[in-house]
Symmetry: C2
Subunit: 231 residues, 2 copies
DNA sequence: ATCGCCTCAAAGATATGACGTATTCAAGTG
DNA sequence: CACTTGAATACGTCATATCTTTGAGGCGAT
């Protein structure tokens, strides 16, 4: 589900360029310039710029042009912004931010899931915990990643909080990045796996306290490891 | 910092209408129809629609039209979406979501602030704690609200995490809504005030554990009160 | 020399006509 | 009944014209 057509292509060029700092904060672009640079019409440029303006990465003013806004104003929760930052020079900072966010949110989500999850959710969660164990033992990193993402997304979704649920994609991005850039041990640690099983069991048993504690251990561990790797 | 001009006005009409469910999920709009309904040109309609598409509230497809997407796809973290939902029929759900998010994030932010805050931040925080105490005693709800927002925003900002910092506006929206709709006691509770002072003192003393605990008490209390009021 | 006002031009904002193109739906065909 | 084909439709893109806002420089008065 992405923005299509020429405006989408323009966005795919401009967004990362701005997110990576290649087009620095305060830089001024002119619509006409973009038309020429990308060989598209005014219509297309304006629509792409409007979207960027919607995520507060740029501001368009008459007689001035399109100015890149300071990073502090950007909608840092916008999935597109997150993706662009993860792809560029901001990757470490973005990973750290998301890591801290996970530490805050996922334990709370696990606690809520323990009381709010549907029976289907609980079954699915148990099944995923098993899958995780199996793929970890087989050292199948790709399958492990897939199940890990599914596990954490499901917990977030099962929390019943729409805002938590929406962080599933961001968490997926973090986990994917961690695997892609070899920021995790080649063989997932047995201890982490056991914690995942504990989370699943606690949620199935409606034990919010235990679910929260186990999940907190998982995400704080992940954050610590991330910090070690990034230093 | 809002989207200006005619597209902005169109957004200000369409966004709330969709957010409130007045234009239901799955509804199909035609660009030409919107041109007529709002008396603006294609250019304007297209730009507004593109922004809505950027926040995934609508999807535009050839030969079909502009379809309203299911709520589960919306960028629920987009400040515009939050504002629109708070203004409409989704207000209770939005307040609950934000309340849970606060419970997850603000304690973590307080803990981080205890170790990351600048000296200026700490001074400002102490000052705000005093202001809170004074305005609470004077039962000046508006001034209290202003300081309360400043306090929580500052803690989020001082955490040093950009994503936490960006939740300041949303927290402000929750607090404002709570006051506007008389969802809080006329005289702020002395216990809550003392907790704010405790947070400030703990952050100043670099006591992360204490700051986190006091902040958790504040936000869980607020959430409980919110749930009582909304039932 | 400084302040304030005025004018002009630059750049975005809006409107509109023309054409392109994908997609759906249905008629037609085997 | 399945498949093909074609036409209608609504968005997508381009080009152009005109309007509006606003920053900068000039000009005069104090």
């Amino acid at each position: 589900m992405e923005i299509q057509g020429l405006p989408g292509r323009l966005l795919a060029e401009l967004g990362p360029a701005i997110a990576s700092g290649e087009i620095p904060e305060g830089a001024v672009l002119r619509g006409e310039e973009l038309e020429g640079r990308f060989g598209v019409s005014r219509t297309v440029v304006r629509e792409a710029v409007r979207v960027l303006e919607g995520m507060r990465m740029v501001a368009s003013r008459r007689r001035v042009g399109i100015t890149v806004q300071p990073k502090s104003l950007w909608d840092v929760f916008d999935p597109m912004v997150i993706r662009w930052r993860l792809a560029g020079a901001d990757r470490p900072a973005q990973l750290r931010s998301l890591g801290s966010l996970r530490v805050a949110v996922e334990p709370a989500a696990a606690a809520l899931a323990a009381t709010h999850a549907s029976d289907d959710d609980r079954r699915e969660l148990s099944s995923l915990a098993v899958d995780l164990t199996v793929t970890a033992r087989a050292a199948d990193l790709n399958a492990f990643l897939r199940h890990d993402i599914a596990f954490h997304s499901l917990v977030l979704r099962a929390s019943g909080n729409e805002m938590f649920a929406h962080l599933g994609d961001s968490v997926a991005a973090v986990l994917t990045g961690r695997t892609e850039y070899h920021l995790m041990p080649h063989q997932p640690e047995p201890y982490a796996i056991r914690l995942h099983r504990e989370v699943a069991e606690a949620i199935c048993a409606e034990d919010a306290v235990h679910a929260e504690r186990a999940m907190r251990t998982i995400v704080t561990g992940a954050l610590e490891e991330l910090n070690v790797q990034l230093d």
